[in-house]
Structure formats: structure tokens, C-alpha cells
């Protein structure tokens, strides 16, 4: 339907932006969303009615009256489950209150890890809903909601299938299969007995009903079988299709019998939206026990000008948060509790000042120290926030114009490399996530075009192929058709997301330097490998803090430092540790997880490298990305990638083989496979190749940044530039000359990543400097700083905007294995070596 398709295209990248900016209640009406569900309802009710009217009377006379009764009961069951699946809230999480200080959203690390039955699970920050998605929760781009135990978005019921309505959906499938079989069977019986007068109206109608039933039987039965397997395995469609547990252990399964009984027999889960808040009548009457503030605490509070909030309060809440191993949701901004009217909350105007600083993601708010470029930071940050917001909202169109301005904005002196990376990374990740959501929608649109597809839209994206063999036969043919369309559409959005991610990167001003644990939480997690901390002796601000007792130190379930290191990772890190505490590695390494596959998969210059990164940022699953990405020498992390690429099993081989290749993407992560092992979801099998690859790496360069993904490079490009500025200020001349030479020469030829963005070029050049990765070197050559002996190897187009910044000056500062080299993970898992 052209009309509906044009409307449905409204959600794609070409249409008006801001899918997330629109409040759900005011979302524009999209009639195309109702086409599948209307068709399903029409066919179901219409066919069954015809069956009852034309076929059943004769059947009940001829055989037994139980036939229509049986069919009637089943049909009623089908209808009931269909209605429940359609109209029931799948388990939508309410949006967390909007932070008054929007900057916080961009400071929080993108991922937090929790340990579930010994398996590290990663919780992603949802920029739309503003909390860390609980395990198994996913954001549906069609519905624009985070759904608990997200299974998929079913267009046939025009609803997400989640925790609350999965049972009804499953029973709908079962009963529909039974109903179709019954209708077809009894219709066949009717026809067999009416072969002589087949031209009668009744026979013709019965034949038509049989045709419809037969047509729908195959996809429905296939889908039913697929879900039976899922229920038995205790997986959701989302997890199955994205291959989360392929080769791994599913931490959410309780055994076949318990899984089945949980689906069918558990009590109806409560809904979270629209709950009536019962007013409570407890009144707090002062005076109540309150700890006496020490002089130091008071002084600290007073120093704070009130805008940042209560230092004591925030710090303690920060400690508390850090001590808790997982943050399902960041605490909302402190707002007066209206339920307890008796509580004296001080004067509202007094409280408002302090309330301005929401506790979360507050890690950054209350750093004792702040970088000298604070003023600039604030300005650029605010500016960046606006832009980033625009990005995350979905307007990822004109990257060039804003990019240049962003670059200028980001080129502020006095930025600390680490914080800026952190911010950029988070923001870019978020944007990536948002962009990924957009892309998913586009993919969905493309996928939805394929008719007869079982209608799996995972977060708005239809997954053409399922790794589960039981489904492949059923849906493979349909999937392939949808794949093409979705792949095409995906590319479109990927380009936009790339720019978006980069923009958010550029926008991010370096956060204040957080020497203490507070800072560590935010950017540590982003930092990959943790090597940077080892080597970051020079970074005085960071070093003491890092080595200091961070609250997020693994300790007892603290933060996410310890839990997510796999054993191998820990060993690697321990070995490579120099001065810094291992925690840094941990923290940074875990952030590698999301990006590992990114970098691995797109070391080569695949056309849409951004989509890869976006996808990875968005979800830990990889769509049917362009296969070309894996063709180029992939970095060692590819094997991570292949776990996500369940569609492209062949990628696995690429990755495995390439992992040991000498040409490594410029990954600034430590040579030890610390970051590579980072992703705990993936089983040990993937870790091993990483380990091997990592072992080969050290001789090459200290920190071969495995920036496989050009997209990650682009996102890190802005960070790079900022770092370069810092380097420039404090750079030691020619420090990395040796490293640069080695890296540049080695890595130039490989990869040949065709990066659409200038920033990517810059990133590549920088990474080349650092560790020599297969990057196009034109950017390096053109922008080579005086002190950095960049080696222009490739001949890609010179970067447009990259050169203006004194970017490559950083390169010389990077020491291959210097005492003063610190590794920081940028966006997309890029690790930068920053010499201090």
C-alpha cells in the first residue's frame, strides 16, 4: 500500500527526525502500524465465521455436534489470547523522571554489568527512558518503550511481547495452530464428502477457507515451533535471534520444566504504568536523628555553590551506588515526596538549589577537582548537550555542519583526556544507541515489507535469519527477502548514525577531572583494557585517584570493576599491570565489551562501518551487517563479533583467523587481552582466540588499539582531537616517534577502511600513531603534526575537517610503551594512548 508505506516510512531516517523526541502519547498516528493486525483479525474472524456458517452445519449433522463446539471453544480461546496479546501492557517500564541536570545523562557510563548466576550480564543505559535497562529488558523502537523481558515486537498484534503478555502470545500461537489445523481438517472432510457437488456455494466457501487456513498454517506452525523451543530453553526471541547465548550459558534458564511452568503458570506480573499511587500517611516529624556533619563536610558543602548539590549527600549516595553492584535505574532527581506531607523539607527555594543536582548519574557531579577548563567545559558541554540531545533524539542528518562547529567547540584547552573520552564515549554511545534505534526502525520497515514473514520485529528490526535450526526451514525463505530490504534501509540509517555518534562525541566536553573513585566509575568503565591506567603514570590527576581506593573497586560487589572480568582477562591484566591498580583495567575493559565486536568486525573499510558500531552500541546483537566488513583484516576482537553475528557464521572464521594477524586495528587497549575478554556474556571459547591474538600483539606495539570499526574511530575522533590538544599542551616531543614509526608503517597498508567521515580518518591516523593499525593514512599524512612522524600510507581522501585541529600532535606524545602512556578508551572501544 503506497499510502501506508509512505506513512510507515515516516519512522525511517528519511522522514522527520526525533522518533524519541515525540512523547508516546502524542506520537503521530501511523495507520500502517495497524495493517497487519487488522489483516490478522480480519482473516481470523472472517474465515472462522465462514467456516461456522458454511461448513459446520453439515458437519454437525453428518457427524456430531461436538465438532462445532470443539471448534467454537478453540476459536474462543484464540480470540481471547489474541486480545490479551494485543491489548495487554507487555511490561513497559515507566520513564524515569527527567533529570534536571541533563548533563548527567551524558556522564553516566553506557553500560553496567551485573553478575547473574556467575555470568556477567551487561545493562545498557537507555537514553530514552533514562535508566539502565534491567537484564532482558530491551527498548522497542516501534513502541518507543523499554519492555521487561522483551521478546519481540509483533506486528500481527501490533504490540510488544514482553513479560506480561508472553504467555498469551504463546497460547495464541498454540491455539491458532490448533484452530487452523481443525478448520483445515474439517474443511477437507467436507470437501471430500462433497466432491460431486463441488460447485455449490458451500463447497466453494469451504475451499476458500481451506486455502486461507493452509496459507497461514505454515508460518504460524513454524512460529509456534520456534516459540516452543524458546520456552523450553528459557530464552526470549530477542536473545535467540541476536545469538546472545550461542555457545554460552543462559543465566535465565531454570531447566525445561521450570521454564515452561514459569511461562504458563506464573502469576500475572503487575504492570508498571498507570499505577494508582496510594497516598501514604506517614509523616516525618523533626527532629530526627541525623549525623552531625563534620567541619570538613560542612566546608565541602559550603564550597559547593549549591548548584552542584550536596557534596556529602551526593558522595555518599555515590558510594552507595558504587557499592551496589548494579544499577537497574539511576536514581531520579531528588524531588520532594508529596506522599509524606508532614515531612519538613526545608524551604522549597533552599531545596531547589540542592535538588538541582540529581543523584544520578551523579558520579561526576561531585568530583573534588575540576579541570582548569571548567568554564570552557561548561560552555561546550551545554552546547554539546544540546547537540547531543538533538542527536539522540534522532536528527542525525547534517553532520558536517555541526561537526565542524563541534570540533571547534571541542577544541578547548585544558581538557583532560580521560574525562573527555569518557563523556564522548557515553554520549556517542547513547547517540549510537539512539541511532541504532532509528536504524532498527528502518530495518523494520524494510523487513516488514516482506510479506508472510512471521513478523518478528526485534526492537523494530526484523531479523531475517534465526540461528535456531528449527526455525530456519520455516522462515529462511521469507527472511532472505526481508533481509535485503532491511539491509538496504539499514545502510541509510547507518550513515546518519555515524554522523550522529561522531557529533555526540565531538560535542562532549571533557568532563571534569575525576581523580577519585567518582570519576573512575564513569570513564573507567568506558576505558578499555585498563592498560591505560597501568601506563598512565604521567597522568597525575588520574594516577593517584586511580590507585586510590575507588569505591567502585571490585571489593564486595562494588561497581562493575571486578565482576566482569573473565578469568583470562584478569590474568592478562594482572600480568600487564604496572603501577595502577587492576581495577582500572577492569573498569575500562568492561567497556570494551560492547565495542569489541565493533572493532573486530570493521577493521576493514566496509562501506557502512558506522552501522556496525551503531548496532553494537545499540544492542549486543549484530544485524545482517554488510558482509564486507569482515573481509578486511579484522582485529583480534572479531571473534567477539561473530558471537553477535549469528547470521554470518562465516564471520567467525574470518575473525578467528584474523585475530592472530599481525596487522591490528588501532586499538589502544592494552596488549593483554584484557578488554577482549571483557564481554562476559561470550563464553570462553571466544576468549581464547583473543588471548592468542593479544599475546601476539604486545611485541608489535604497546597498545594496539583494536579499532576495527571505522565508526568507532569516527566517534573517537573528536576525543582524539581533544586529547591532542591536551597533548599539545603537555606533550613530550617525539616521545612516540618510535612507536609512531613502527605503528604507522605497519598498519598503513592493512585495513583500508573506507571511512566516510573525516573524523574517522583522524581517528585512524591517531590510532596508527599509537599502535599502527590498518587505517587509511591520508588523514595522518595531511594532518601530521610537526612532532609526529606520521606515515601516509594509504591514499584515501584527505580529511576535510580533520586537519585544522592540531590533531596529530598528540601522536608523538604517545609512547609505545612509555611510563607516561595512559590508555583511555574512547567511543566505540577505541583505546587511545595518551602520554602524560
Amino acid at each position: 500500500m503506497p499510502g501506508s508505506s509512505s506513512k510507515s516510512g515516516g519512522r525511517g531516517p528519511s522522514s522527520s527526525p526525533l522518533p524519541h523526541a515525540v512523547v508516546p502519547s502524542s506520537r503521530p498516528l501511523r495507520p500502517s502500524r495497524y495493517v497487519p493486525v487488522s489483516a490478522a483479525a480480519f482473516f481470523l474472524v472472517g474465515s472462522t465465521t465462514l467456516f461456522f456458517c458454511f461448513t459446520c452445519p453439515w458437519l454437525s449433522e453428518r457427524f456430531s455436534v461436538a465438532i462445532p463446539i470443539y471448534n467454537g471453544i478453540i476459536f474462543l480461546f484464540v480470540l481471547a489470547n489474541f486480545c490479551m496479546a494485543t491489548f495487554m501492557d507487555p511490561g513497559i517500564f515507566p520513564r524515569a523522571e527527567e533529570d534536571e541536570d541533563k548533563e548527567d545523562d551524558f556522564r553516566a557510563p553506557l553500560y553496567k554489568t551485573v553478575e547473574i548466576r556467575g555470568i556477567q550480564v551487561r545493562m545498557k543505559w537507555c537514553s530514552t527512558c533514562r535508566f539502565y535497562r534491567p537484564p532482558r529488558c530491551s527498548h522497542c523502537s516501534v513502541c518507543d518503550n523499554c519492555v521487561e523481558d522483551f521478546d519481540h515486537h509483533c506486528p500481527w498484534v501490533n504490540n510488544c511481547i514482553g513479560r506480561r503478555n508472553y504467555r498469551y502470545f504463546f497460547l495464541f500461537l498454540l491455539s491458532l495452530t490448533a484452530h487452523i489445523m481443525a478448520v483445515f481438517g474439517f474443511g477437507l472432510l467436507f470437501i471430500l464428502y462433497h466432491r460431486q457437488n463441488i460447485d455449490r456455494l458451500h463447497a466453494i466457501v469451504t475451499l476458500a477457507v481451506m486455502c486461507v487456513a493452509g496459507l497461514f498454517f505454515i508460518p504460524v506452525a513454524g512460529l509456534t515451533g520456534f516459540h516452543i523451543v524458546l520456552v523450553a530453553r528459557g530464552r526470549t526471541t530477542n536473545e535467540q535471534v541476536t545469538g546472545k547465548f550461542r555457545g554460552g550459558v543462559n543465566p535465565f534458564t531454570n531447566g525445561c520444566w521450570k521454564n515452561v511452568s514459569h511461562v504458563l503458570c506464573s502469576s500475572q506480573a503487575p504492570r508498571y504504568l498507570g499505577r494508582r499511587k496510594c497516598a501514604q500517611s506517614v509523616s516525618l516529624q523533626p527532629p530526627f536523628l541525623r549525623p552531625q556533619l563534620t567541619e570538613a563536610q560542612l566546608a565541602a558543602k559550603i564550597l559547593d555553590n549549591g548548584i552542584q548539590g550536596d557534596l556529602h549527600r551526593s558522595k555518599s549516595s555515590l558510594e552507595m551506588m558504587e557499592s551496589q553492584s548494579c544499577d537497574a535505574e539511576p536514581p531520579p532527581p531528588p524531588k520532594p515526596e508529596l506522599r509524606y506531607p508532614g515531612i519538613t523539607r526545608g524551604n522549597t527555594e533552599e531545596c531547589s538549589l540542592l535538588n538541582k543536582a540529581p543523584p544520578t548519574p551523579t558520579m561526576y557531579k561531585y568530583r573534588p577537582t575540576y579541570s582548569p577548563g571548567k568554564n570552557h567545559t561548561a560552555l561546550t558541554h551545554a552546547y554539546a548537550n544540546q547537540l547531543s540531545r538533538g542527536e539522540s533524539v534522532g536528527s542525525a542528518r547534517d553532520s558536517s555542519s555541526s561537526t565542524s562547529s563541534l570540533l571547534q567547540a571541542s577544541q578547548q584547552p585544558g581538557f583532560r583526556s580521560q574525562p573527555s573520552l569518557d563523556r564522548r564515549e557515553t554520549s556517542s554511545e547513547r547517540v549510537g544507541g539512539g541511532g541504532g534505534g532509528e536504524r532498527r526502525e528502518v530495518g523494520r520497515e524494510g523487513g516488514g515489507g516482506g510479506g508472510g514473514i512471521p513478523g518478528y520485529s526485534l526492537g523494530g528490526r526484523s531479523y531475517p535469519s534465526f540461528s535456531d535450526p528449527t526455525v530456519l526451514s520455516a522462515v529462511a525463505s521469507r527472511s532472505s527477502s526481508s533481509t535485503h530490504t532491511s539491509a538496504g534501509t539499514v545502510h541509510v540509517s547507518e550513515a546518519t548514525t555515524t554522523s550522529a555518534s561522531f557529533k555526540s562525541l565531538a560535542n562532549q566536553t571533557p568532563p571534569p577531572h575525576h581523580p577519585s573513585r567518582n570519576g573512575s566509575l564513569s570513564y573507567d568503565s568506558l576505558l578499555a583494557g585498563g592498560d591505560e591506567f597501568d601506563k598512565a603514570v604521567g597522568v597525575s590527576s588520574v594516577a593517584p585517584d586511580v590507585s586510590g581506593g575507588r569505591p567502585c573497586t571490585p571489593a564486595a560487589g562494588g561497581g562493575y570493576s571486578s565482576p566482569f572480568l573473565s578469568s583470562q582477562q584478569r590474568e592478562a591484566e594482572m600480568q600487564s599491570q604496572s603501577t595502577q591498580s587492576p581495577h582500572h583495567h577492569h573498569r575500562s575493559s568492561h567497556h570494551h565489551h560492547p565495542f569489541l565486536h565493533h572493532s573486530s568486525s570493521s577493521t576493514s573499510s566496509s562501506p557502512p562501518p558506522p552501522p556496525e558500531r551503531e548496532r553494537l552500541l545499540g544492542e549486543p546483537h549484530l544485524p545482517a551487517a554488510p558482509a564486507g566488513q569482515t573481509s578486511a583484516p579484522p582485529p583480534p576482537h572479531h571473534h567477539h563479533h561473530h558471537h553477535h553475528h549469528h547470521h554470518h557464521s562465516h564471520h567467525h572464521h574470518h575473525h578467528s583467523s584474523s585475530s592472530s594477524s599481525t596487522s591490528r586495528p588501532p586499538r589502544f587497549a592494552a596488549p593483554h587481552a584484557g578488554p577482549h575478554h571483557a564481554y562476559p556474556y561470550r563464553t570462553r571459547s571466544t576468549d581464547t582466540p583473543l588471548g592468542s591474538s593479544s599475546t601476539t600483539h604486545p611485541p608489535r606495539s604497546p597498545h594496539p588499539p583494536p579499532l576495527g570499526k571505522s565508526l568507532s574511530y569516527s566517534s573517537a575522533a573528536a576525543a582524539e582531537m581533544q586529547y591532542r590538544l591536551v597533548r599539545k599542551a603537555s606533550a613530550s616531543a617525539g616521545a612516540n616517534a618510535a612507536g609512531v614509526g613502527g605503528g604507522g608503517g605497519g598498519g598503513m597498508g592493512g585495513g583500508g577502511i573506507q571511512v566516510p567521515k573525516d573524523e574517522l580518518m583522524q581517528m585512524k591516523s591517531l590510532s596508527r600513531i599509537n599502535g599502527g593499525q590498518p587505517f587509511s593514512s591520508t588523514s595522518t599524512s595531511s594532518c601530521s603534526a610537526p612532532s609526529s612522524p606520521c606515515h601516509p600510507v594509504n591514499t584515501s581522501a584527505p580529511p576535510r575537517a580533520a586537519c585544522p585541529s592540531p590533531a596529530l600532535m598528540l601522536s608523538p606524545a604517545h609512547k609505545p610503551q612509555g611510563s607516561g602512556v595512559k590508555k583511555v578508551t574512547g567511543v566505540g572501544g577505541t583505546t587511545y594512548e595518551i602520554s602524560v
Binding site: F77, P291, D310, D327, P331, L354
Partner: protein
């Protein structure tokens, strides 16, 4: 506003609106459990044992709500047989337990937490994400 407020006073008064979050404990899967780890922010405010007891009681109640017991099974069968119209009349087992939890929280607030200037909020209002107490 011509009046001036001492920053110290403001801070002390405003500290009441601080929130302490007790996060979910996902170590046993997606079951609704909260971490019993005593947050350091409440160090001086409340007895550690009492707090842990409260959280443990809440965890037990949530476990009961999600239990696959005979009641939930019967409820499911009944719902199937009546084409789910029984949900219009009857309250589900989970909802019943949630009410129990709300009552328990209120009772704890009245008895233990309010006198110390703390307030526990029902996690269901936050999507069972965090249990937080207002300092």
C-alpha cells in the same frame, strides 16, 4: 527574596531530600530481589540489622509473589477457562502480594524509618527498579 539563608542551614535542611537507592539484586536471575547490602549513607541513620531485615522481608514477599505455586496455577487455569474474564473480577496473586508489600512498607516507615527521618518508597512505583529511601 531579600532574606539570606545560611548555606549550612540550607544544606542541613535540604539533606532531607537525599535519596538512597537500594538496587536490585540480579544474582539469581530476573526475580525481584533487592540487595541487602547496607548502604553506607544510612550508616548513622539506622541500625544495619533492622535495615537488612526489612530488605530481606521484602525479598521474601516478592519471592512469594513470583512463586509458581498452586495458587498461581489454579489462577492460570481459571483464567484460561473463563477466557481471562476472571481478571476483571479477581485480583491476581501478584497484586495481592504487592498490596501486602505496600502495607508492610508503610508499617515499617511508620515504626522504624520515619522516626529516623527516612522514608522507604515502594519499588513498584519505580518499576521494581530500585527501592529507595529518602533521607
Amino acid at each position: 527574596m531579600a532574606e539570606t539563608h545560611s548555606l549550612q542551614d540550607m544544606r542541613q535542611q535540604a539533606a532531607i531530600t537525599a535519596k538512597v537507592f537500594i538496587q536490585r539484586d540480579y544474582s539469581s536471575g530476573t526475580m525481584c530481589q533487592f540487595q541487602t547490602k547496607f548502604p553506607s549513607e544510612l550508616e548513622n541513620r539506622i541500625d544495619k540489622q533492622q535495615f537488612e531485615e526489612t530488605v530481606r522481608a521484602l525479598n521474601n514477599m516478592y519471592a512469594e509473589a513470583e512463586k509458581l505455586g498452586s495458587q498461581s496455577y489454579i489462577e492460570g487455569c481459571l483464567a484460561c477457562l473463563t477466557a481471562y474474564t476472571v481478571f476483571l473480577c479477581m485480583e491476581t496473586h501478584y497484586e495481592k502480594v504487592l498490596k501486602k508489600i505496600a502495607k508492610y512498607i508503610q508499617e515499617q516507615n511508620d515504626k522504624i524509618y520515619a522516626p529516623r527521618g527516612l522514608l522507604l518508597t515502594d519499588p513498584i512505583e519505580r518499576g521494581l527498579g530500585t527501592l529507595y529511601s529518602d533521607c
